[in-house]
């Protein structure tokens, strides 16, 4: 082969091979980029689907709460009020001191029971949270715990209160309720403190108790209550951190970015 022909073959061959290499590399990068995009979209769709499922589940739960709340308020509450009235009439109609005393005692206990039931009914109702606002609803819940369990329950509020929207506030309220219920049920604390921290860009809730606490390694798989809290925090796009130490109490912290 003469040098000029060889040179032409060399140049054309090299250019062709290099073009092939470039095309291959570009194709690979573009293909992977598209695949990445596709996976992202798939992930997004899966997340949306999961969120829809969670929302449906929570909606069913809220419907049950509403049903129980109405039943307590309209049915059991009314019945107990009637019993209370009957006891009043027994007390006022009786001349025996022992009967009067027992009727009075029963009336007082019944009054307390009616009051507690009304509180429970209120705190179960989603309408109550949206009407009263988050802070008042939490205060009401703590008031009920205070009267029912005789423990020191305090609400601390920092920053100027603002509305987070009724749906969000309901989810947050349920998280707080779950946290308090867990503390009361498992930790036997003498005090529970709830902190609502309002800042312009973030909102935080801390539920702290001085109960028995737990060692993190012993609770590797969270219970239903804790899972529900995490699930709700996920729906709020928030982060939920649980810290606990044996005999030193537990602290549950929820952080939300405002504008999520």
């Amino acid at each position: 082969m003469n040098p000029s022909n060889a040179m032409i073959v060399f140049i054309i061959g090299s250019i062709t091979l290099m073009l092939f290499a470039f095309t291959l590399v570009v194709f690979l990068i573009v293909h992977k980029k598209k695949r990445f995009q596709h996976l992202l979209e798939k992930q997004q769709m899966e997340n949306n689907y999961q969120n829809q499922l969670l929302l449906s589940r929570l909606e069913v739960q809220e419907q049950s709460f509403k049903y129980f709340s109405e039943e307590i308020h309209d049915n059991v509450g009314q019945l107990l009020s009637m019993v209370k009235m009957q006891l009043y009439s027994i007390r006022s109609g009786s001349h025996e001191e022992e009967t009067v005393n027992k009727a009075s005692s029963c009336t007082d206990l019944l009054g307390k029971a009616i009051n507690d039931l009304r509180n429970i009914s209120h705190t179960m109702s989603s309408a109550f949270v949206s009407n009263a606002g988050l802070a008042d609803a939490v205060e009401k819940d703590l008031e009920y715990i205070r009267s029912a369990k005789e423990m020191k329950c305090t609400l601390h509020q920092q920053g100027e209160e603002y509305s987070l929207g009724s749906e969000k506030e309901l989810l947050i309220f349920r998280i707080i309720q779950e946290g308090i219920a867990n503390a009361v049920k498992h930790a036997s604390p003498t005090a529970i403190d709830v902190y609502l921290d309002y800042t312009p860009s973030t909102f935080g809730v801390t539920i702290a108790d001085n109960g028995s606490g737990f060692v993190a390694s012993e609770k590797t798989t969270g219970g239903i209550g804790l899972n529900n809290m995490h699930m709700r925090a996920g729906l709020l796009n928030g982060t939920l951190n649980v810290t606990s130490e044996k005999d030193k109490g537990t602290s549950i912290k929820l952080d939300l970015g405002i504008g999520n």
Binding site: M1, N2, P3, S4, N5, A6, M7, V9, F10, I11, G13, S14, L17, M18, F20, A21, F22, L24, V25, L28, I29, H31, K32, R35, F36, L39
Partner: protein, 221 residues
């Protein structure tokens, strides 16, 4: 006919080539602690190349024949590149392949030296074989990325870039080695072809140097 492809001054090109190679070595030495095994092998390949260039430079200064150096360097470079690919692509019997390469490549180099191309002549056969094998290994490595659905981002993978650089470098040099014998009959054309090779080498070294430089920011596979 082909003068427009290359700069007129060969010296500028040569010095650019040496500068690029030195820069790669210097950048690599700064990042060396961060490198994983595969990248360290790549760096070793660059160091070997630099040592060969220094020896070739010295030999030329003393008017020695540089061809024996290329006979040895080609086998060493081929072996290091093979080990690099074996380390960066998941092979099940990696050690066996490394051992086979360690036996087969020097044997082939020796056979070429004894039976085909003497030590005073150019060992283009070995370079052609090296080009074909490296192109095949690069294509296979890129295929593994393509076939792996779990790999979604490739531009942050240093191995990916090295495979690409090898593919481009050897795609650009394969035909040079294949046609070097007829081209070398014309000195002017040979100069042009050599300069094209130097330009391709400079581009690849700049790429390799960039990967070494940005290595800490890259996600390892």
């Amino acid at each position: 006919m082909f003068e427009w492809i290359i700069p007129k001054s060969k010296m500028i090109l040569d010095y650019s080539y040496y500068t690029a190679l030195i820069l790669v070595i210097v950048i690599g030495s700064f990042r060396f602690q961060l490198f994983d095994k595969g990248i360290k092998i790549m760096y070793l390949c660059m160091v070997t190349g630099a040592i060969n260039e220094i020896l070739v430079y010295i030999s030329k200064r003393f008017n020695f024949n540089t061809m024996p150096l290329y006979h040895v360097y080609c086998v060493v470079e081929f072996f290091i590149i093979t080990v690099f690919f074996l380390n960066t692509v998941n092979f099940s019997r990696k050690r066996l392949y490394i051992l086979l390469s360690a036996i087969v490549l020097p044997t082939l180099g020796y056979c070429n030296l004894v039976f085909l191309q003497p030590k005073t002549g150019l060992n283009s056969n070995m370079f052609i074989l090296e080009s074909m094998c490296v192109i095949a290994m690069s294509l296979y490595s890129l295929y593994t990325i393509l076939a792996d659905d779990f790999v979604t981002v490739v531009h942050n993978d240093p191995y990916f870039w090295f495979w690409v650089f090898f593919l481009i470098l050897y795609s650009g040099t394969f035909f040079f080695w294949a046609y070097i014998v007829p081209i070398s009959k014309n000195v002017k054309l040979m100069d042009i072809a050599q300069n094209i090779q130097v330009i391709i080498n400079i581009c690849v070294y700049v790429g390799i140097g960039s990967v070494f430089f940005f290595y800490p920011k890259m996600v390892k596979k």
